[in-house]
Symmetry: C2
Subunit: 208 residues, 2 copies
């Protein structure tokens, strides 16, 4: 079954991505300069660890479903379970993309930034592709199995995804360095001070 | 069934907690001073929105299972689905506690800090209670339904949960103010500079 092959490829790729990403951020946890930073990256790493455990269960099940012959033997219960898990992992891809975008504000070396950005782009493509696959599966199985939840992408009401975070993060150090000459022109309730452009990610690199 | 009543109470409480928490952090998204900060709180809010949607599906199912008579009519498929969802929501409680701890580094007003800390304490109690309930359910249904995953709490290998983040976050402004007199004595690969103690949360309050 074509969709299962495509999903298997998507989740095999993101499984490798989780492992690379967790390895990249582990030093940030081990050598964090304060408790907030430590908790921040520890939290992200743990969420991806939880996702990895779920994928280690899901990927072999998708592999079995490559075969059309086998699919005919799948029970309604198994299919319902699978579709429910796929629904969850669609959000998992979305959240992983955001974890990668957040990390772009931390890493300044070109090699690491390139690696993060490639993972981010692949994850975004996989996320969009998966939405299409889920729509097909929903149509295919709608008579037999109700698909839990809906297909909206949680991007409603926010303009955050219109931002090129790869670009924004690359200029964050510069804007920090020049922060006293930059004015925040938007309405804000936060106290204004000359360091207002700083973030967890940019701080590490103030001296670089 | 006693366990279902207890779980229903836990998830009804955390459902209200999600709504309060998302309302508290929405202004941080609306008035963020930079793209990184905006993405950071947007991401946390979205993850809790995803959890809220799952709980809106789960809570009515738990309510139905209050009645022992009804439980006898529950199919293996339904029970398997329920246990799988409960396994996921145990991690949801754990992650929510960490979202609350991260937010404590942002909020400085006593009222808001107290509210966040109470939610954090309730969430931690609910998380520990849920682990006990899951162990009981695992034993009760082990013959009929295999319970997916394991019961470890993802806290292994980290000392992050030994930290009193309520206390740590309350002193972060002070430590920022005195950062030039504080030395980081742990081995670190990060460039050292006098602003090294700063975080997203503490920066907003440098001038206060």
């Amino acid at each position: 079954m074509q969709e299962m092959k495509q999903l298997h490829a998507i989740f095999t790729r993101t499984e490798a991505g989780i492992k690379s990403f967790r390895n990249m951020i582990q030093p940030l946890i081990d050598h964090a300069v304060d408790e907030h930073t430590k908790l921040y990256y520890h939290h992200i790493s743990e969420e991806e660890e939880q996702r990895l455990e779920r994928l280690e269960d899901l990927i072999p099940r998708l592999q079995k479903l490559h075969s059309v012959d086998y699919l005919e033997q799948v029970s309604d219960r198994e299919l319902s379970h699978l579709l429910s898990d796929l629904h969850l992992e669609r959000f998992g891809l979305h959240n992983f993309r955001e974890h990668l975008e957040l990390a772009l504000y931390e890493f300044k070396a070109d090699t690491e930034r390139q690696q993060l950005n490639e993972m981010r782009e692949h994850t975004q493509q996989d996320y969009l592709h998966m939405k299409e696959i889920m729509a097909k599966l929903s149509e295919k199985f709608s008579d037999a199995i109700p698909i839990k939840g809906n297909l909206h992408d949680h991007d409603h009401g926010h303009d955050i995804h219109q931002v090129d975070h790869f670009h924004a993060s690359s200029t964050s150090s510069a804007s920090v360095g020049n922060s006293s000459s930059q004015q925040n022109t938007s309405a804000t309730t936060f106290p204004s001070n000359e360091k207002k452009g700083l973030t967890v990610g940019s701080l590490r690199h103030l001296s670089s």
